[in-house]
Symmetry: C2
Subunit: 416 residues, 2 copies
Amino acid sequence: MNVHIITIGDEILIGQIVDTNSAWMGEQLNLSGFKITCIKTVQDQLSDITKNIWSSIQEADVVLLTGGLGATKDDVTKKAIADFLGTGMYYDKEVHDRITSFFRKFGREPNEAHRLQSYMPNGVLLLENKMGTAPGMWFETNGKILASMPGVPYEMKHLMTEKVIPKLIKKYGTKPIFHRTIRTAGMGETSLALKIESIESSLPANTKIAYLPNLGEVRIRVSAFGEKDDSQEEIEKKVNDISNKIEKELGNFVYAGNEENLPTTLGKLLLRKKMRLATAESCTGGNIAARIVRIPGSSSYFNGGIIAYSNGIKIKELGVKKETLESHGAVSEETVKEMVLGAINKLNVDLAIAVSGIAGPGGGSPEKPVGTIWIAVGNNENIRTLKLQLSKDRLKNIEYTTNSALNLARLFLLEN
Amino acid sequence: MNVHIITIGDEILIGQIVDTNSAWMGEQLNLSGFKITCIKTVQDQLSDITKNIWSSIQEADVVLLTGGLGATKDDVTKKAIADFLGTGMYYDKEVHDRITSFFRKFGREPNEAHRLQSYMPNGVLLLENKMGTAPGMWFETNGKILASMPGVPYEMKHLMTEKVIPKLIKKYGTKPIFHRTIRTAGMGETSLALKIESIESSLPANTKIAYLPNLGEVRIRVSAFGEKDDSQEEIEKKVNDISNKIEKELGNFVYAGNEENLPTTLGKLLLRKKMRLATAESCTGGNIAARIVRIPGSSSYFNGGIIAYSNGIKIKELGVKKETLESHGAVSEETVKEMVLGAINKLNVDLAIAVSGIAGPGGGSPEKPVGTIWIAVGNNENIRTLKLQLSKDRLKNIEYTTNSALNLARLFLLEN
């Protein structure tokens, strides 16, 4: 069973916006066991859309359209579907009533454009859109499916999750399938693969491991694809057995057994240990704290931080000794350790993260080339440090350092 | 003249990565006056690629392929091109020599896979790739063009900029075209459009204004499209005349007349005025400082900051008065003003930015609902403040506040 996705929008063709809808749809369909064989972006033009529906419906079993629905989009997709079906349109009072009540809820009156929006191609099944005014559409012909959704991401996601994917599963049965994601940090893709080589080389039939690396983190996705007769429980058990083996083998390199991110895991640990955190950042310039604060509720465990970008602030605000800076330099194990102690004592916390490094692209020396980074995490009794040797790419270095520092804090909490 | 882009990659179809290459290519081609009518992503499979080359070459004048080149990709695109052309492959010694010297530069020896990589379809023109081992390919047939590039973004960008676009311009002439981007902050899209309504309603023929909004910023793009006989100078003059009128009308809402971002503009102003900056952040948690520090060389004007997420730090590190917090609250004009003064005095700078707000999604009250944000910028003599009333979306609120704070600092420097 093959799926084509057609995205409608000139603004994507001219690069004004990046098409993230298709990536999300591709991922969701793949996770449900459907195969995507083509993603197309086409112009906001009736003839172009109709032509592409025709060519895709010949190559694929299911064609999903997004975009080009709604009053401001001139409902061009709806017209293309009516053209493709060779039917006219009818006025749908229910749709009009929904649009009207949607507008009145916000104290506004719908206009003529909204009345025209209530005309629908004959023969389609409407998919109720609880997030907006334009309903989705579903049409079956000769065993093939054509469905369309608005391009607004949360409306599309709502219709995909609540209507389109369940209907596809109902129609095509789908073989049982199960995925689990293990999130790791602190070890590269190649080393991880080496460490779980024996698990990977003896995987049961129809199971798969995929590595998804990203600047200091690697997600490992374990999947099992069953046959029609396999039970879902069996498939899930397969994935869970492999995942448990991997988690055991990788130990503390695993920080979450699902899609939870690193600052969330760290926050949960801090809450559990009833400890409060602060940061002392030089080269990351506040990025570590900003990542922590993006998590709602972080005020329960995060006090704040000092961004000590200049040496003056390192000395004055964090109590780093002038002699330390002179003899070891700002980018040194000694300096980041003193930054930790300074943050602990000044900001009234149980744990502090400190980083200092040369983010680049300039500023290196033969002894300390661009990309040299020191990280320290700890308290008054105990400090753990880590040295990174990264690239010349400033933005990547900042992100890599941020992930590594959050991970070092997690490891410190696990071990202390 | 129509262009199709074909991106090759299963990892895009299953949503593992988002296709940003096509968006970039679409933008560059559009800016050069070429029309993109379709972007397709297809599987890493010989038959699929060949089939799509066939269908696209019938609909478009130019077909550009990316991805599926190089040893690890099994060079599937090259094979598809040879299939499409109906020719065999030949061993290209020059390509092999380039690959060999590329590897030796890094102290490695190429292997058998790299020798196979040196086979090229007969009849194509190779486009030298200075950024990697796989060359681009260019083929002309019946007045149509087929070109391919590796999928690695910097290799693709290099080949597009240095080879493909110049060759397309040479071949198709292109009508003169010119664009200029005006970057604004502090005014919404609708208000901007209203303010320059008279300019927009009297635009000369074949010119266009586009608004590209993004969380507190709006880019305005002015474009002129000439006919074959128009001179490039004429077209540029048209755009510059309109742009100058817009810039005059919008005054200080314009922060840059090109693609420069807000922290870069602010950095240049600080350097020119020989002033140093610090931040005092509550709800943005270091995000403002992190944006400033992403600019290389920011240490020349940025000292650092205090992330005062807890009230304790606002009092202890920034000298905010306990009474101020008690009578006005942490999210108040009085508090952010005291945060500015605290940062100025503690961090030894000429200018400080302070923010405090309720980022959400929880934590609001009837008097101060979620999304209430106060920003202050100033020095010991003068402080300018701004209140925002934003949404319940934590991440959007943080970004919007960050842009607004950077912009307020820019305005303060212009006026003081």
